[in-house]
């Protein structure tokens, strides 16, 4: 008896194993068929007046699914159907931590999807080198709305080896660095308007003197490295030469590749950091700070980094801290024309395995029409947002679509109604390509394959040495000496030669 009971159990186990295994394999086999997409109408949609067959386009983007996304998506697909584009969208969000690996593995495994966020900081270089994504030039041509919504300079500068490898997504050309400053405090101390970096430094010390409990300048550990540029007086002039080729190497206006520390005035920012840390302008635990924005918004700090990226992060401050007023300080000289390579960080690319590239571009063109752009980026009008004037909007729900994955267009972006005038001034400044002088590297993308070993050893030096130095923890002289020797040990000379060779070849062919 007992024996039979055991046999029963064993049979069940075996059956389960067999079923699950076969389920796996049949899944694997059926996938390409099911998702081959092209020409397969989705059952639920279709059948309107002389409609095109609807193909479901699958998109992969990083991040979390926005709140209320399903409703907006339904509205988007409804509108797509009404406009007879012949496509519906299916967007899958993948958590940031997995996004890079997931997409590259899916591409390596030839899995079917039609568009995804690609970027040089992700694996765009490899994707291009391995011919895994479409060159979109011919598809952009003739899709007027899409073409018009992005300035010519931005199209031009974001080509890779002369080809459009992804639709450049961005609202600004190059972010401008500056400070968010508590105007009410400045006036309380009787200080004049901040016009130069020296004025800014005076303000920081005035805070230190007058309000002992306030942190004069609060910054997250993650972005403390930007102090080096933010507190460099040269940055705010037209003499700030050199534009990044990689994180560690610059190209100067006389077409030479140099390591960052050879840039004139490189030490300025670090010297300030060193002094600020000692004098308590930065707070003591800057190296593990993760809540700088919160501290500033709670009124516990007098200034905070500013980037002209169009993101409004000060609403809580103005709402919750009594008497708080804000001004944006970019202590630049008159006629400031910072360098830019007009390069965008994010691109929408189409994998070679997708059979729907024409349709993807139709949808992207469709999304470049203001009405459609607004629908996906800001949600359903009246429910998620209300227009404010011609180019503003007021958000009335928690819906927030990460526009940088798909919908960002400099000509279409609306500014939030909560954005203060100072901020809008600099955001508008950054949108306009004419405000920047083109860097020599405009249109150039370095291929790091030949110097991978060196780059892999150089990359971690940033967190290891530069970041604490920019937080003011190490003496500049000691830190930079160490950085130089580590860079040289890792083979910076070889990298410079390689980058110089590539840049020369690029410039010669221009």
């Amino acid at each position: 008896m007992k024996k039979w009971r055991w046999m029963g159990a064993v049979t069940v186990v075996l059956l389960l194993a067999a079923v699950s295994l076969s389920a796996c394999s049949s899944n694997g086999n059926s996938k390409p068929n099911a998702e081959n997409g092209a020409g397969t109408p989705t059952a639920s949609e279709g059948n309107a007046e002389k409609p095109k067959e609807i193909v479901e386009l699958k998109a992969l983007f990083p991040g979390d699914t926005p709140q209320g996304f399903d409703e907006v998506m339904a509205a988007v697909n409804e509108k797509l159907k009404k406009d007879n584009i012949g496509a519906s969208l299916k967007i899958q969000f993948i958590p940031w931590s997995d996004y890079g690996n997931t997409t590259s593995v899916k591409i390596a495994a030839n899995e079917q999807f039609d568009m995804f966020l690609e970027a040089p900081w992700l694996h765009m270089g490899q994707m291009i080198a391995s011919d895994s994504i479409y060159a979109l030039d011919e598809f952009v041509e003739g899709r007027e709305e899409l073409k018009q919504s992005i300035p010519e300079m931005m199209w031009e500068a974001n080509k890779f080896n002369g080809k459009i490898m992804g639709i450049p997504l961005g609202t600004t050309q190059t972010m401008v660095y500056g400070f968010q400053v508590r105007k009410d405090l400045r006036e309380k101390y009787g200080l004049p308007e901040i016009k130069t970096l020296d004025d800014m430094v005076n303000f920081l010390y005035a805070v230190k003197e007058n309000d002992k409990d306030l942190i004069p300048f609060v910054v997250d550990q993650r972005t403390a490295g930007h102090n080096a540029q933010r507190f460099n007086s040269l940055y705010y002039t037209n003499d700030y030469d050199g534009f990044a080729v990689t994180n560690e190497f610059l190209a100067t206006s006389d077409k030479k590749v140099i390591p960052i520390y050879e840039r004139p005035g490189y030490e300025n920012g670090y010297k300030y950091s060193e002094q600020f840390y000692k004098d308590g302008i930065f707070h003591k635990n800057i190296m593990q700070e993760q809540n700088a924005a919160t501290l500033f918004n709670q009124g516990k700090a007098a200034s905070y980094p500013y980037y002209s990226d169009g993101v409004v992060n000060y609403t809580d401050l103005l709402k919750n801290v009594p008497g708080a007023e804000l001004e944006i300080v970019v202590p630049a000289v008159d006629g400031w024309k910072p360098l830019s390579d007009f390069k965008q960080w994010n691109f929408l690319s189409v994998p070679k395995y997708s059979k729907n590239v024409e349709l993807v571009m139709d949808v992207m063109n469709w999304l470049s029409i203001k009405e459609n752009h607004d629908l996906l980026e800001y949600g359903i009008q009246g429910k998620d947002w209300n227009p404010v004037g011609e180019s503003g909007y007021e958000s009335i729900s928690d819906y927030s679509f990460p526009g940088y994955v798909m919908t960002w267009r400099p000509q279409l972006a609306r500014t939030p109604s909560t954005m203060i005038a100072d901020d809008k001034k600099w955001v508008d400044f950054s949108k306009d390509a004419n405000n920047f002088s083109p860097a020599v590297t405009t249109g150039f993308t370095a291929n790091l394959d030949a110097v991978k070993t060196e780059i892999a050893q150089i990359t971690p030096l940033n967190e290891q040495i530069l970041s604490p130095m920019a937080a003011g923890l190490h003496k500049f002289e000691d830190g930079i000496a160490k950085y130089k020797s580590e860079m040289e040990r890792a083979g910076s000379q070889k990298v410079i030669e390689e980058l110089q060779k590539q840049l020369d070849a690029f410039l010669a062919g221009k």
Binding site: W6, G100, Q288, K452, T453
Partner: protein, 364 residues
């Protein structure tokens, strides 16, 4: 009586040694299966055993076969496990090739070009090589030792609790942190030790001690991380040890009691010695992964705070930072392979040492 018992009794004449062989190990084997990410390592190790041992092993295996035929269903039971082992542990080993390839998405693993040992170069010539290997090894040794001691203490104490519901409750409560994600643990640590007014510093002040700037003091962090690791994982190992303790026959304790042994003596003379094979095997399994830093834990807690790198930067976090720009599969696989091979070598070395001391406690 279950089929298992019958199997065991038939195998050996001496009931006590049977128990010693299989009773306590039964639970260990189970935990082994859970822990064993290095079963390929074991398989490989088996193949390099010396001839004399192979003959002995062969006899043993033949004996097992004979037994197996008497109860074939036991073998059948193993089939699903073997299949999953093959699919998830052996098939993916094909990916080891990546370490020697200039991997290219479009060409696939096989189609990419060979680059020899080029992928290993960056790691092995890095100026941080010594620091990160040292940190990885020392931190893991600290984790293994502290966790084992804490888990044993918890298991022995739990075993002494006579009120059943309370024992179960405590067991669950101690086990609970194991299910907590490292991200959450990182945030808890941050609020205890970081921020403007760290909670722990407030305690220190109340005790009349001076404040500590935790995130600046690299030398404290091996200890802090060990404490966190014990809090997080000791409950898990305690349950394994508790299972092993339960399988120690009650009569041993009864005999000891009759001879007038105190509880403490019983623990020292019976429980602990009989747990040694379990301890040794669990430790050996952990040593197999000693070159693998616990990335999830260390990155969630330390992050990019370079002030703590001198003592907390492990191979995995260093490689993560190196690859931020390149995202190179080949180079990261090379480091992974390096870690596995070093782990295997260590397991073989330690195991052969353990064998010399006590055959019972060795893995193979």
């Amino acid at each position: 009586m279950t089929l298992f018992d019958g199997f065991l009794i038939k195998t050996e004449n001496d009931e006590y040694s049977t128990w010693r062989r299989y009773g306590s190990l039964g639970s260990v084997r189970m935990s082994q299966a859970i822990l064993a990410n290095n079963s390929p390592a074991i398989a490989f190790a088996l193949s390099v055993l010396r001839t004399k041992e192979i003959v002995a092993l062969k006899n043993k295996i033949m004996e097992s076969y004979r037994q197996a035929f008497k109860s074939p269903f036991l073998i059948l039971l193993a089939v699903p496990g073997l299949i999953t082992l093959f699919i998830f542990n052996y098939l993916p080993m094909y990916g080891v090739l990546l370490a020697f390839k200039d991997f290219d998405y479009s060409k696939g693993i096989w189609g990419s070009s060979w680059v020899g040992l080029k992928n290993f170069e960056y790691f092995l010539t890095s100026s941080q090589l010594f620091v990160v290997i040292r940190n990885t090894l020392l931190l893991n040794v600290a984790f293994i030792v502290s966790q084992t001691i804490a888990a044993l203490a918890i298991a022995v104490l739990l075993n002494e609790i006579r009120i059943k519901w309370f024992a179960r409750l405590s067991q669950s409560v101690i086990f609970l942190p194991y299910f907590m994600s490292w991200i959450v643990v990182g945030m808890i640590t941050q609020s205890m030790l970081g921020g403007q007014n760290p909670t722990v510093n407030e305690w220190l002040i109340q005790l009349g001690l001076s404040e500590v700037n935790w995130y600046f003091e690299a030398h404290l962090w091996p200890w802090i991380l060990s404490v966190i690791k014990v809090w997080h994982g000791a409950g898990y190992f305690a349950i394994i040890y508790l299972a092993a303790i339960t399988s120690i026959p009650e009569d041993l304790y009864e005999a000891a009691k009759i001879d007038g042994a105190s509880r403490f003596q019983a623990v020292r003379k019976i429980t602990l010695p009989l747990l040694i094979p379990t301890i040794s095997i669990l430790t050996l399994l952990l040593i197999g992964r000693i070159f693998n830093g616990d990335f999830a834990m260390i990155y969630a807690i330390v992050g990019d705070n370079s002030l703590l790198f001198p003592t907390t930067d492990v191979i995995d976090t260093y490689v993560y930072r190196s690859m931020r720009v390149l995202n190179d599969f080949g180079m990261s696989s090379a480091v992974g392979l390096f870690q596995s091979v070093m782990g295997l070598v260590l397991v073989l070395a330690v195991n052969s040492f353990v064998r010399r001391v006590s055959k019972e406690s060795a893995l193979f």
